[in-house]
Point group: C2
C-alpha cells in the first residue's frame, strides 16, 4: 500500500510502505475511514523537531476493524472504532486514575496517514460505536481521536466549570475546540487570543464571547482589563511556545488554573515567575481515552459538532498539500480520505 512519509523539512511523500500486520495478540488492524494532519505534525515538517531518517506520519484516525489479534476480546472485526494517538492497556494503575496517555504500556501511534493502521492494545485503546455511523458523523468522530480530545483536556485540566471566565491562548484547531469544550463545560465568558479573521469567526461560532488580537504586554493588559485586573479563572494554553506559555501564565488569576496541551518547544519556565503567579498548572499528552466514550456520545447525539475545524478535505494521496496548506495557515486542519 501507499502511506505518508516525512523525508525531511517540507518533504512529505505518499509512497509505498509495508502493509501493517498483527504483531502481538493484543493488536488490531484498522481500515482507515478518514485521517488528518495534526498541528504537532508541523513541528517535524518544519524541521523544528528533526526525525532521524524517513518517518511514517499520522496519529488521528477512525475506521473499521479489519482484523484482531487472538487476545483481543472487546473489539470485533467490522466495528467502527475511534482510538487515541497514545495506546493504552486501560487496566494499569495510571490508566485507572484516568491518565491513559501515560499508560505504563503506552505506544505513540505514528502511521495513521495511510489506508490501514496497526493499533496496539486494541481493547484498551479503541472505542467502538454502537453501529456504523452515518457518513456525516465521521469527521466529528475523527476529531475526537485527538484534536477535540486535546481541546477537551485543555478545558478539563484548566478546571473549566459553570460560570468561570476562560482564556484560550491559540487559534489552531486545538484552541478552537478548546473553545467548544469550555462552552460545553459551562464557561460564562470565553476569551480567545487570535488575530486571524476566519479563525476568530469559528471561535465565535464555537462559543467564544471575546476576541483579543493583541499579543505580548498588550495582550496581557487587554485580558486584565476584561477580568477586573485579576486574570482569568481558567487559561488553556494550546500552542506550546515559550511566548504562549508566558502569556498564559500571566493572565491566569492567582489561585486559578492553567493547562498546556501542546508538546512544548523551546520552553523554560522560570521558577520564581511560576511561584509568584500562584497558579495550578497541569499539562501533558491529553488522556483522550478517558474522554472518548462521552465525546462519541456527544457527537452522535448532535450535542457538539467539532467537524468545522476541517476546512480542507483532500484525497489521502494529496497529503503533501494538506501539510503545506496548514503550514502556510491557509487551512486550519486538513482531513484526508483514503
Amino acid at each position: 500500500m501507499k502511506g505518508t512519509v516525512l523525508h525531511g523539512p517540507n518533504d512529505i511523500r505518499f509512497e509505498e510502505v509495508p502493509e501493517p500486520k498483527i504483531e502481538k495478540p493484543t493488536d488490531a488492524i484498522i481500515r482507515i475511514a478518514v485521517t488528518c494532519v495534526c498541528g504537532s505534525d508541523l513541528w517535524p515538517y518544519r524541521g523544528i523537531s528533526p526525525g532521524s531518517g524517513p518517518t511514517r506520519m499520522g496519529h488521528e484516525y477512525c475506521g473499521y476493524v479489519e482484523e484482531v489479534g487472538s487476545a483481543v476480546m472487546a473489539i470485533k472485526k467490522g466495528q467502527f472504532v475511534v482510538g487515541s494517538f497514545a495506546t493504552s492497556d486501560n487496566t494499569c494503575p495510571t490508566c485507572n486514575i484516568g491518565y491513559q496517555s501515560s499508560c505504563v504500556q503506552r505506544e505513540f501511534v505514528s502511521q495513521a496517514q495511510s489506508p490501514y493502521l496497526r493499533v496496539a492494545h486494541a481493547d484498551g485503546t479503541l472505542v467502538a460505536t454502537r453501529e456504523a455511523p452515518d457518513a456525516s458523523m465521521v469527521p466529528g468522530l475523527l476529531a475526537s481521536s485527538d484534536v477535540l480530545g486535546t481541546g477537551w483536556y485543555a478545558a478539563d485540566a484548566a478546571r473549566v466549570r459553570p460560570g468561570v471566565t476562560a482564556v484560550v491562548v491559540g487559534d489552531g484547531a486545538v484552541g478552537l475546540l478548546a473553545v467548544l469544550s469550555a462552552k460545553q463545560m459551562g464557561a460564562e465568558r470565553i476569551i480567545v487570543m487570535s488575530r486571524h479573521p476566519a479563525r476568530q469567526k469559528l471561535a465565535l461560532d464555537f462559543g467564544a464571547t471575546d476576541i483579543v488580537a493583541e499579543r505580548g504586554e498588550e495582550g496581557v493588559a487587554r485580558i486584565m482589563e476584561l477580568t477586573r485586573g485579576l486574570g482569568a479563572d481558567s487559561v488553556l494554553e494550546c500552542v506550546g511556545t515559550g511566548e504562549s506559555m508566558q502569556q498564559a501564565m500571566r493572565v491566569t488569576r492567582k489561585g486559578g488554573h492553567m493547562s498546556f496541551v501542546g508538546v512544548p518547544h523551546g520552553v523554560e519556565i522560570e521558577g520564581q515567575a511560576l511561584f509568584f503567579s500562584h497558579i495550578h498548572l497541569e499539562g501533558g499528552p491529553a488522556p483522550v481515552r478517558r474522554y472518548l466514550p462521552d465525546l462519541i456520545d456527544l457527537i452522535l447525539d448532535q450535542k457538539i459538532d467539532p467537524s468545522a475545524v476541517f476546512d480542507l478535505v483532500l484525497p489521502l494521496d494529496q497529503v503533501a498539500e494538506g501539510y503545506k496548506a496548514m503550514d502556510e495557515r491557509r487551512a486550519i486542519k486538513a482531513l484526508l480520505q483514503p
Copy 2:
C-alpha cells in the same frame, strides 16, 4: 528599640531601629511574644538573594496587640494574635478563593525579629485566640505563622488525602512540618528524603514511614522501588533548588500532584520534561491565613504539636547566633525571645 538588621552576607546585627507606629488606620502594633529565623532568611544571609543595603528581618510572629488603627474592627488591644508573613485584606476576590498570600493589597512582613511589629491590614491578617494561651502553647502557635502553615500548604496543594503515598523532598523545618501535615491529612505512607540523622528522627516522630537518604538518580530509583515503579501520588517539594524540583517532578506519578512551597532559586523547568511528567503542579507563597483558624484550634486542642522544630531557643539579642546555627545546620530552627 533594638531590632534585627542584615547588613550583608553573614552579617546580622541586633541594633537600634525606629519603633513602629500606626501608619494607616488599618494597621495594628503587636508586642512580639516570640519570633524565629526562617529557612528563607538564609538566602539573603548567604548572599544568594542580595538585598540593597541594610535590611530589617523577620516575618514569623505572634504576640499581644498593643495598639490598633481607627479602622480596625475585629482585632482588639490586648488580644493574643497570630499572623501570616503576607498581609491580606481577606475581602478581595483573591482572598475570597483562599489565596490570601496573593491578596491584591498584600505586603510582605519583614521586621518581625524585633520586640514590636506593625502589621498592615490587621483585620484581614491577624487571627486572635479566644484567650491568652498558656506559655507552653506559644511556640506551636508561632509555628503556625509560617513554617507550619507552609508545610500544611505543601500537603494541601499536593492533594494529600487519606490513603495516599506522599514524598517530602527536604528535611528543613518546612519539610518536617509537611510530614506532620501529610500525616494529619491521612497519608498512609510518607517517604522523607533526608540524610541528617536528627532530622530523620524528627520526621519519624511526625509520622514519616520511610526515609530515603539517596539523592539524584539513586534517590529517584529508590522512590520508584517503594512505589511499584509508578512514583508517589503526592510530592511535597520543600527546598526550592533546581535539583530538588527535578527530584520532586521525577518521583511524582503520572496524574499525581506536586507542590512547591519555598521561593525557587535558580530554577528553570524544562517544558517537555514537565509535559511528559504529566503532573499537577501548584506552588507559591503559602496562603497561611486560609489555614490559621484551623491550625490554631488543632494546636490549642493538642491534636498537633509542631513546636519540636524549634531545637534552639535564644534571647532575641542573640539572633545572629540563631542564623549561624541554622546556616551551619546545627539547628533546625531558632526560636527568639524578646
